[in-house]
Symmetry: C2
Subunit: 436 residues, 2 copies
């Protein structure tokens, strides 16, 4: 990709109430809109107004019933992707899908179907699921451990890619008059691996993108490995310039070691932007939307989350990275804490500073629209990241505010388009190569 | 349902080239439209112009590679349902889905998602898959035998219905100000059966129809059983008045024996209508679209299909039903031959007559638009059937012809609506009860 053409890529999350735990208390709308199609279309149209490359939904096939629970992953992501790309032009869709609780044939077929129906606007964010409760919706077996889930996810994508390439009408030769098609344009894949046996071919032909863009978020060793083998749009937590550089280097080096061209990798980490007329107003919004209520409460949450002994805790003392190193063997997602470790490895920060640098484990940028735009451009300009996946604190309010206040600044700075102007697929928007 | 309100229900199949094997040679369009979204939208808009209650797609997760194969089940049905109901108002969608190769949680979630996004326009046609080759796309195990597939399908729908009822916002009580919702409006289902273990609840709330309409086609004993327990829209082969009566009686009686109210069952069998300026022209079209080429070739196909000794075969001799009784234990769909047996049980017919009464195992009606309309109204008028699921010989041509020529006659006869005038859901169109 030539430097002249490089521009900031932005996705935006549209889980229905927004990303921050208390956002629902301060947002426009009611809880009933979480299952209202019109609400999702509104969010996607707002994103379209902001010329976002794609909307994004996280997902988990689970409904928690605690009193402080908040259902936010409702409509099946690939169904939502189809509805939104049918109703809203141009915009892409990043759909989170599980490699643990789907069969590769069915998922490859559905994803390719959405890519065809949307004209090539789909990315699938492959997750292997880390919440044990999910497993109980799919049988008696507990969640497989990470050392199985990641190899299984790798093989899942190997199979999916074979299926996506198994019927390519471009291979069609001369078709005799009494035949409908040339069956030699398709072939069985006869995959027989450790986890899957799939004969193929897929009964959906090659789609507009070859296959959907592969997004990937995990930052554990297994996650990095999956990203290096298959990831094209990386959504891992990156809280600082150095962490962005380090992640990019690590994934690209490993991709090379697998014989993969690393130029097809984009890093678009999660980002929570909170905009105020002043930085103080943004801080106050953060206190509220996070559910903490005050900076002291944010600090108390930090102490609790990380199992720090509160007696003698000094919020203004510099933190040591090694206190936060995650256990690679635990079943929970390790990527969440890894971002903090990376941050503290490269910067000397106090807890009071750290609680304003990250929210929901994503990079947090706070301040006026100008300050937010500056911080977004900062890490992009030197290539630490290729863009961001915004997680709006409140939906729809903070999508609207970002579109109205920050997007114009990014456009005026010449780093972000004023209209959809590249090709029509998500690969075109991200300048990602087409397979094969 | 009061007699005054009763009206003919019609669905129409939109598999992309049409139902008859040689239809692609005589239709408008090219083979490339089988993966062209615009083609599907055109077919659905034609159906909408004809005020059809729903479009229908059959499905099989398999691509055959033989030289006389014809890929016709491409886009995943629930993805297609979402795209079409997003683009085309009013019309319902009957999506064929497999109970053998899906998990109940995922399928219940996707179906409810489509029903929500479409405003209550989904029916799912549950099939247990009878083609052994399909299994090889999902693992090493062969296709389970019918005695497992049908009990599994029954339990699959039991689980799905529990999940669809597991989160009902109408149960929500007073919600305290510091809570997002009332978690007691949802409950786990803790299903533990012979084939499935599913904790629940579903993370999609009750949809506009309570749950999607359940369509069902099988006519084996297992299929009748499934229809009686769960079926609302029955698509079994009905080739004659007596067969329609018999099927209705059998399913409704068995429904009663299961403690189910039989008034929620509609019989809308498959129907192939071939229209000509004269009956002779319609016969000629049948010869061509079926791929046989002539009546003699149709008879030869009949002889071959049913394993009849061609020496001494007299196409003008009356056939005996018992020669065609299907083996209930074979793995293939028995419903296909059952229709013929039922026909011959009630009518004295020669092979020459029989080949003009059924095509692709569905009822065949041939003649002028008036004659076709007469035959459609005939079995509907006395309640043998509630309507039909048209399988157009060619798509789009025979959908268009039916809409332009037959629909106006049905409207003029007062048995079919001139516009979408009942409520907005598929249950409303079919006067089907809402669950719970």
């Amino acid at each position: 990709m030539s430097q002249a053409k490089r521009r900031l890529n932005l996705n935006v999350g549209i889980n229905p109430t927004g990303y921050l735990p208390a956002s629902w208390k301060y947002r426009t709308g009611s809880r009933h809109d979480i299952a209202d199609p019109q609400h999702y279309f509104r969010l996607a149209r707002l994103a379209h107004r902001g010329v976002f490359d794609a909307v994004f939904v996280s997902d988990m096939p689970l409904l928690r019933l605690g009193e402080d629970s908040r259902p936010s992953q409702i409509i099946d992501p690939l169904i939502l992707a189809t509805a939104i790309t049918s109703q809203v032009p141009d915009i892409g869709f990043v759909a989170t899908v599980s490699s643990t609780f789907n069969s590769p044939f069915n998922l490859a077929r559905r994803a390719q179907s959405v890519d065809i129906m949307s004209g090539g606007r789909l990315a699938i964010n492959i997750v292997s699921n880390f919440v044990p409760d999910v497993a109980a919706n799919f049988g008696k077996e507990p969640l497989p451990p990470r050392e199985i889930r990641y190899p299984r996810a790798n093989e899942f994508l190997d199979v999916a890619k074979k299926l996506w390439a198994s019927w390519d009408p471009r291979r069609e030769g001369e078709v005799p008059e009494d035949q409908f098609w040339d069956p030699s344009s398709a072939h069985t894949i006869d995959h027989e691996g450790e986890y899957f046996y799939v004969k193929g071919p897929l009964n959906v032909p090659r789609g507009p993108q070859g296959y959907p863009v592969i997004a990937q978020a995990g930052a554990s060793e297994g996650g990095i490995d999956l990203a290096a083998r298959h990831g094209e749009m990386l959504y891992a937590n990156v809280l600082s310039r150095e962490a962005g550089h380090a992640l990019g280097r690590k994934v690209r080096d490993r991709a090379v070691s697998f014989g993969r061209d690393p130029s097809g990798i984009r890093i678009v980490p999660g980002l929570v932007a909170i905009i105020g007329e002043t930085r103080e107003e943004a801080l106050r919004k953060h206190d509220l939307f996070s559910g903490a209520g005050s900076e002291e409460a944010l600090l108390a949450r930090f102490v609790k989350t990380h199992g720090i002994d509160p007696s003698g805790f000094n919020p203004d003392a510099v933190l040591e990275a090694e206190h936060f190193v995650p256990d690679q063997n635990r079943i929970q997602a390790v990527g969440f804490t890894q971002g903090l470790v990376d941050l503290l490895t490269h910067e000397r920060l106090t807890a009071r500073e750290v609680v304003r640098r990250s929210e929901g484990n994503h990079r947090l940028v706070l301040g006026t629209a100008e300050e937010v735009a500056d911080q977004i451009i900062d890490l992009w300009a030197d290539g630490s990241v290729d863009g961001y996946t915004l997680q709006p604190p409140r939906a729809p309010d903070d999508i609207e505010e970002f579109v109205d206040k920050v997007i114009p600044i990014l456009q005026d700075r010449g780093v972000y388009p004023r209209a959809y102007e590249e090709g029509s697929t998500l690969r075109d928007r991200y300048a990602l190569p087409y397979p094969d």
